[in-house]
């Protein structure tokens, strides 16, 4: 089957592990519309062909992270991916790899959320806030958190990280990025403990850069991991020199 001029040839991964022995791909032809997004396409399939299709979505504007999936082999937010940007009218949609499939495009993100919770994703200031007002933070200091604050926890990098595939449940790129976000926050006072907690995962990173490549929000987890490592080495050296 070839896609022709005015149609999209869509291929969707379907699997319900509790009922079916193995996954399959289901084919659809849909009329080409230049302003359609991949999520829009899935919605059309759900409404007009097969309402047993399972997928997650919420904001449909690329900010909630619910619709992360593989589109033509690349990590994408389906809602923020116009079909016109794909450069082809043959589209393949699959769930985030290496996570347990619940049904079709819906995967179990439990290990991802556990890693997120393990890094204590909240501010721990050294002392109470200054008299019922805000902590002061210069625009420069705010900048130090960089793109790390733009992470929407979509799970793409977690799924893409090869260190992870070994089966060891490390923290993964997003949780380390979140660690960096608080470590770099001038209001936080928990730096040393954060580095210690990040130890699980920080040193396993092989700079495959899959995470940075996968991120649909232009976050650069590999960069944040490198920065955390540098800080960890520095603090370790500090301790060693103090001891001698």
């Amino acid at each position: 089957m070839e896609a022709c001029e005015n149609t999209i040839r869509l291929e969707i991964y379907r699997w319900e592990p509790r009922r079916e022995p193995r996954p399959r791909f289901q084919f659809f032809h849909r009329p080409w519309q230049s302003r359609l997004t991949v999520l829009g396409l899935l919605q059309e399939v759900y409404e007009e062909h097969d309402s047993s299709l399972a997928f997650r979505s919420s904001c449909r504007e690329g900010i909630c992270g619910a619709c992360a999936m593989l589109v033509n082999g690349r990590y994408r937010l389906a809602c923020a991916t116009p079909v016109a940007d794909l450069g082809t009218k043959c589209i393949t949609v699959a769930p985030l790899p290496r996570l347990r499939v619940i049904k079709d495009l819906v995967v179990d993100l439990e290990p991802f959320w556990r890693a997120h919770e393990a890094v204590r994703p909240y501010l721990t200031p050294p002392s109470g806030p200054p008299g019922g007002r805000e902590f002061l933070q210069s625009p420069r200091d705010r900048e130090r958190m960089g793109q790390a604050i733009a992470c929407i926890l979509c799970g793409s990098c977690f799924s893409a990280c090869p260190t992870h595939w070994t089966g060891k449940h490390d923290l993964g790129p997003a949780a380390l990025t979140r660690t960096f976000r608080f470590y770099a926050d001038s209001r936080d006072g928990d730096g040393a403990a954060r580095l210690a907690r990040a130890d699980r995962g920080l040193w396993r990173c092989r700079y495959a850069l899959n995470c940075t490549d996968a991120c649909p929000r232009n976050v650069n987890p590999a960069h944040h991991i490198r920065e955390l490592r540098r800080q960890a080495v520095r603090s370790w050296l500090g301790r060693v020199t103090r001891r001698t």
């Binding site: 619910a66 923020a80 933070q137 625009p139």
Partner: protein, 564 residues
């Protein structure tokens, strides 16, 4: 059976703040959530959150009193002024608290929370975190809720309340992953399920905003309030209706119809494109209806004369969004825009503590109506409402839960609710009639957009009510594909559709009853505001045979209309 002292339904900003407040009171607290809390609609808010901090140089003289006055004026005097005073007075504390919890607000050169001007406010009062204020706040509060030991049930959807004799002891939820119906028992419930934009064909809201909390409360006997007041945003991208920020007009964007004419000159010659949201939305809608729109029903927002400069900073986000969703570069081509539903001013009627007349039921956020928005919401006030009244509702729920002395064995009420709900649910599972839920839903959305949209009139509303009645009738002959129970979106969608039809009927009747034009409620056949007859809230309660409508008093104790 799952048991908690306080159960929060919804993990958006209102739900998260309520859960934290309940934990602060020491109550065992859980949050039920349709998807993970970080997927809630609150993350989409870009603009910011209002509080009279006086951090901007021009904002030095700002006070909660001025904030309250701006809110009251925007509300067309339909907001309860005591509640508005509370909202404005507690705003700085809630914003500072969010900052102290780690919210990455943008900063002034002195390191204070940055504030910018927003429509309808006299001074720069809107605190923001770049153009991701909602996301910054949700991520912050979710972290704090984890720290406080709030328990989360993700992908659990509440589908009915366990009510008996006007008191509620728990609810029935469906676990999406397994399809099981799960009974939950609790001492107090906080409903925080957000808006109902999906009632409309065109909405800026996310796909989860189906008004389910309003339906849960209404079905259990709690009155809804001011449901006819629906805010429309003038500029959403044609097609998917992603919001184009007001900043695009603020920077000098021009609205043009298909004849290339700057039509705002006819509707608001003074303010032109900077006219208030409702005026601009009506103007665009009138152009489209008069046949001066582009095919597909939109007009152009033209920024091409502004050059490249604004995109370096202030309109960077706008350019990205427009490029991604309509494939247009606003520096080169005009943006296709159309009005879309944006916010529900009405909701579950509550007092200042978030309490409803139903025993054990509280509500907060967009699904509630305190009311602080009256006939029209001021931009930046709804994020604020989620924090101020989310906290109040959560704390009151925890206290009420502690003092509750139920007359009946609560577990029996919940079991009874489970039995009843399972019956109805299974009836839907087995439904094999000729009507398709998708088709009914589309008709509903089209009816709402055309007849109960930006401009309304008596005949149109009557037609809408008739269509809605026939949709309810057709729903009885619905058919569901025989699918598996696991992650069955069709089944959940059909269940929600039934609720949406009920909600739509309430909106239609409330809009029909209010024979005046006030704020977002525009009646072409009654174009004037009429304080003599209609300075009242609309209450709607479920009766034995259909909705019962009534008028409720408005609190105008601070600034009665006509005094300025």
């Amino acid at each position: 059976m799952i048991r908690h002292r306080v159960l929060v339904v919804g993990g958006g900003l209102a739900g998260l703040r309520a859960a934290i407040a309940a934990r602060e009171q020491g109550a065992n607290t859980a949050v039920l959530c349709r998807l993970h809390p970080l997927r809630s609609a609150s993350v989409a808010a870009q603009g910011g959150i209002n509080a009279a901090l006086g951090n901007a140089p021009e904002g030095g003289a700002d006070t909660p009193e001025k904030h309250a006055l701006d809110t009251i004026r925007a509300s067309a005097y339909l907001a309860d002024q005591g509640a508005v005073a509370l909202l404005a007075a507690e705003a700085p504390a809630r914003v500072f608290e969010a900052e102290n919890w780690g919210c990455p607000f943008s900063r002034t050169p002195e390191g204070r929370i940055a504030q910018r001007p927003f429509g309808g406010a006299g001074l720069p009062r809107t605190c923001y975190a770049a153009d991701r204020t909602g996301q910054a706040l949700v991520h912050t509060l979710h972290g704090v809720a984890l720290r406080h030991g709030v328990r989360f049930y993700e992908e659990f959807v509440a589908i009915s309340l366990a009510e008996e004799d006007g008191a509620v002891f728990g609810l029935v939820a469906v676990n999406l992953a397994t399809g099981d119906l799960v009974p939950v028992q609790c001492e107090a419930i906080v409903l925080a399920t957000g808006g109902a934009g999906r009632l409309y064909a065109r909405s800026t809201n996310g796909v989860l905003n189906t008004g389910s909390g309003m339906v849960l409360a209404y079905q259990a006997g709690a009155p809804l309030k001011d449901m006819e007041f629906v805010q429309f945003h003038p500029t959403s991208l044609a097609g998917g209706n992603v919001l184009v920020s007001e900043a695009a007009r603020g920077e000098g964007g021009q609205l043009k119809n298909a004849c290339g004419e700057r039509f705002m000159a006819r509707y608001a010659p003074q303010d032109m494109e900077l006219a208030p949201r409702d005026v601009t939305a009506r103007a665009i809608q009138s152009e489209i209806e008069a046949g001066r729109g582009f095919p597909g029903g939109h007009v152009h927002l033209d920024l091409t004369h502004l050059g490249e400069e604004p995109y370096r900073d202030r309109l960077k986000g706008v350019r990205e969004v427009v490029r991604a969703f309509v494939g247009v570069d606003p520096a080169v081509e005009p943006i296709p825009v159309q009005p879309a539903q944006h916010y529900m001013m009405g909701g579950i009627g509550t007092d200042e503590h978030g309490a409803t007349p139903l025993g054990g039921v509280f509500a907060a956020g967009e699904c509630a109506c305190v009311s602080v928005h009256g006939a029209n919401r001021l931009g930046g006030n709804s994020l604020l409402e989620t924090l101020v009244f989310g906290r109040r509702a959560g704390a009151s729920a925890a206290v009420a839960a502690r003092d509750r002395r139920p007359r009946r064995v609560p577990a029996a009420v919940v079991s009874e609710a489970l039995r009843r709900t399972r019956q109805e649910w299974m009836a839907l599972v087995r439904a094999n009639g000729p009507e398709s839920p998708v088709r009914l839903r589309r008709t509903l959305q089209a009816t709402m957009t055309e007849k109960i949209g930006i401009c309304r009139d008596g005949p149109g509303l009557n037609e809408a009510a008739a269509t809605l009645a026939s949709l309810q009738e057709r729903f009885r002959r619905i058919g569901i594909t025989r699918g598996s129970r696991c992650y069955n979106l069709e089944l959940l969608g059909a269940w929600e559709l039934r609720g949406m039809l009920v909600l739509a009927e309430v909106i239609a009747l409330a809009a029909l009853r209010r024979q005046e034009t006030r704020g977002a409620h525009c009646r072409r056949d009654h174009p004037r505001r009429d304080d003599r007859r209609w300075l009242v809230h609309t209450g709607v309660q479920r009766g034995l045979d259909g909705p019962l409508l009534s008028s409720l008093p408005v609190d105008v104790s601070l600034r009665p209309p006509g005094t300025d």
